[in-house]
Every structure is written in C-alpha cells, then in structure tokens.
Amino acid sequence: MHTQQQNAAAPATPLDNQSPGTFGQTPWQTVGPFFHFSLPWNGCADLTGPSQIGGRPDLIPGGCAALRGPERRGVAPPKGEHIRIAGYVFDARGNPVPDALLEIWQANASGYYRGSGAFGPGSARVDANFHGFGRAATAADGSFCFHTIRPGRVPFTPTLSALQAPHIALGVLGRGLLKRLATRIYFSDEPGNAEDPVLGLVPADRRATLLAQRIDTPQTDAAGAASVHYRFDVRLQGERETVFFEY
C-alpha cells in the first residue's frame, strides 16, 4: 500500500541492477576460500551410497552449523559398474590446492541424463537411485575422491546417432579461479575414446590429461564389494596442464 506521497519520492530509475543500459549476463566471481560451510556437504562426493566423503567438516568451527545435505532415505545402490575416481588438484608449481571444489555431472549406466534438459523418452532408462550430480571439496593435501558408476554412452547431438565415449563433465572451482574451469573425465580403458568427437577436438598430445587411468590392482570397498579405481589429476597450469573447454 503506497500513498501518493511515497510514490512521488521513489527514484525514477528502475530499482534493480539490470537496468536497460547494462542488462546482460551476471558476471562470474570466485567462490573464494570460505565456501565449505555452504556448497559441499558430508557425502556429496558419493553418488552411490551413504558414505560421508566430499565435505570438509574439519573447516567448520565448533558450535557453528554448516548446511546439511539431503536426508538419506535408504536408497538402494544405483545400477551399473561402481567406480572410484581419485586424484589431486595442482597449481602451476605442482603444489596441491587445498581449497578447490569439484563438481561432476554424468549420465547413468544406461546413458541417460536425469534432470532438466533430459533427452528423449527416457522414463524406462531412469535409475531412481542415481541423480548424476556430485561435489568434492579438496582435502588439506589437495586430494579428492568420487564414488560413482561408470556412465553409459550418450549421443553427440540430440538428433544424431553418433555416440560419445563414456565421460563425466567436471567443473573446477576455487580460490583464485574467477570462473569455473570446465573439463571432462574420460576413461583410459574405453575403446570408444578414439572415435569420440570431443576428444577429437583436443590436440593429440594433450588428450591424456583427460583420461582417468585405470588402476589394475583388484579393489574392494569397505563393504567388500568390487569397485574399479581410477586416478585423475587436475593441473591448473604448467607441465601437463589439464585441457579446459569453452562452449
């Protein structure tokens, strides 16, 4: 309820930060070093089960509350081959980066993306126990680890039958990163890599930076279940610098 007098006192310019003269994309800014009580939660790096990996509870002062993650609702493990992808984030000097945040987005074992922009009549391909999104805050030694499943192959375009090799989209955020660095995780043991249309855009001598290397010793997780392990490092700058994409 505004009186006429209040309206007369109102500024003539629009009361927003996107006035016609400047309307456009909101600029990116860094996450800074203090995101740990909001963006990651305990368990955010486990897309398959109830473990608590991915958060940094050691950075939350006693008595202060970080945001809680979702309630576990007794979900069953997702379909597909369970894998672990672990590695480090390094800076230009090869020093580990202890305040980075990684985000992953991937298809389920049937090659289906859940969520917005989902492609095709996929209800039969939905896995109710797999969302496909995860985060990992790097630890004090710059390390991270995701528990997930091997993604299925997805089309290159919505209308073309060509398939991409299995891959996971990876976003790298952190102090000193003014924007997200976008890259992809491929798998060293996938024969489809040679024909992958996105890998084909990458200079041949740099493709290895996108391949998670399979570790060929038999691995079992804490519950005794088999799981395939991969090593994937992110090098922000310098020797063997990771390939980052723009799109």
């Binding site: 009361l15 994309q25 509350a65 919505p158 723009e246």
Partner: protein, 238 residues
C-alpha cells in the same frame, strides 16, 4: 539408437561482462589459471542438461539465515529478493541458489578465517533457496561486514554475499558475488574489478523501499541473468 531424442536448448557463450581467468591484481589467479588456450567445443547433451531435483539432492531450503538456532543473529537484518532471468528475460524457474557470507562483523564461520572479528554463535551464514515459476527468490539475512585479506597491503574485501546458481543446464552454471550500493571498497577490490567497469553494476544490489518491511528489515533487490538460448534452434542433421 533411439531416434526420438528431443532437441534441447543450446546456450549462448559468455558475454563481454565475464572476467578473464588471469587477472594479476587478484594474485591467486597467477598460479591457478591455465596458460593453454581453452578448447572450443560444441554443446552436447552433457552440457545442455543439468540436475534439478533439489530437495532429494541437496536437502531442505534455508531461506532465513538469521535464526539458525532460534536466537537472532547480530547485525542489520536485510531481505534480499529478485528474479533470475535469461538473456531474453525469460524467468529461470526452479533454479537453485546457494548462499554464503561473512557475519555482520566480517567474519566467516570457517576455520581458515582467523582475523580477530567476533564469530556470532547465532549466525552460520549459509542458505539455500529455489526460484518460483517466475524465477523469483527471496531470503533474509544480515548485512555482511567488510573484511581484510592478504592480497596486497591494506586489502579489504567490500561487503558481499556469495551466490551459486544451478539453472537449466551444466552450461549455464553461475557463481557470483552480490555487492552493496555506495560501498567505496568496490572501486579498489581486485575481484570485483576483474569485471570490466561497464558491467560491474550488474553485481551491485539496489536498496528498495518496496521490499523493506516496517519495523523488521531493510530490503535489497538483486536480479541475476544467466546465459540465454541461441537464437536458432537445433536443426535435425541428415
């Protein structure tokens, strides 16, 4: 192969407001920004899709940051609201906004923040809201304080609220910082200044008496614009 895949939106690239990856006045970018050029690639279903089941993925919304335990946080209580749009002014409905900030004294609830401003036991500083069908959002918090940092001698960050947005697709991901009007520190802040001057106003909220609530809280308006869709829809390839 399933031939009935639905053509989805392709999204525009970044506009001239976006900061560079290397901006030497912000010293941490020097050893953390790539030196090789980014590899240009087309958007595929991977980039054109994104998560959206927010409650199952992230948990409950937290729209009032001032009462984490029932008691009230110290500081100037404010309401921040606005609209999330794309570049064609279409509302970005069902977008997840994650919020984090320092308390009124300029101190984060974080072990690595060790300057001697006080922690507030009644302020955690984190929130999480989802936009409605018109892309609108609203949360209540306290105005954060400015704080010193080690980037250069006598460096102070202007008061700001960190905002993370998960919108329609992985391609439209956005993380930004909202600043406050008439803050003299913005002009000398290397992080804000990584954005070309002409576009810096896009990160500055406006005081709004219409949002302000009598005897309760000051109101600020902050609209957020995500990457829009390309003008020409994808055509089937033959």
């Amino acid at each position: 192969m399933n031939a009935q895949l639905t053509p989805a939106a392709a999204f525009r690239g970044e506009d001239e407001a976006q900061p560079p990856l290397l901006f030497a006045p912000y010293a941490s970018t020097v050893e953390r920004s790539p030196r090789e050029p980014l590899v240009r690639m087309p958007q595929t279903p991977t980039e054109q899709s994104g998560p959206n089941e927010w409650e199952a993925l992230f948990g409950d919304q937290v729209t009032d940051l001032t009462r984490p335990h029932g008691a009230c946080a110290l500081g100037q209580r404010i309401i921040v609201c606005g609209q999330v749009l794309d570049e064609d002014r279409r509302p970005a409905a069902d977008t997840l906004i994650e919020i984090w900030q320092a308390n009124a004294a300029g101190r984060y609830a974080h072990e690595r923040d060790q300057w001697d401003a006080p922690l507030d036991p009644n302020f955690g500083g984190a929130g999480r809201v989802v936009t409605d069908t018109q892309g609108r959002y609203r949360y209540t918090t306290v105005r954060p304080g400015a704080y010193p940092w080690g980037n250069h001698y006598n460096a102070w960050r202007p008061a700001h609220i960190h905002l993370s947005l998960l919108g329609p697709a992985f391609a439209t991901r956005l993380i930004t910082q909202m600043y406050f009007p008439d803050d003299p520190l913005i002009e000398i802040d290397p992080i804000a200044n990584a954005v070309p001057r002409a576009y810096r106003a896009r990160m500055v909220a406006h005081f709004d008496i219409g949002i302000t609530q009598p005897s309760h809280a000051l109101g600020y308006r902050f609209d957020i614009v995500l990457r829009g869709r390309t003008a020409t829809p994808l055509r089937p390839e033959t």
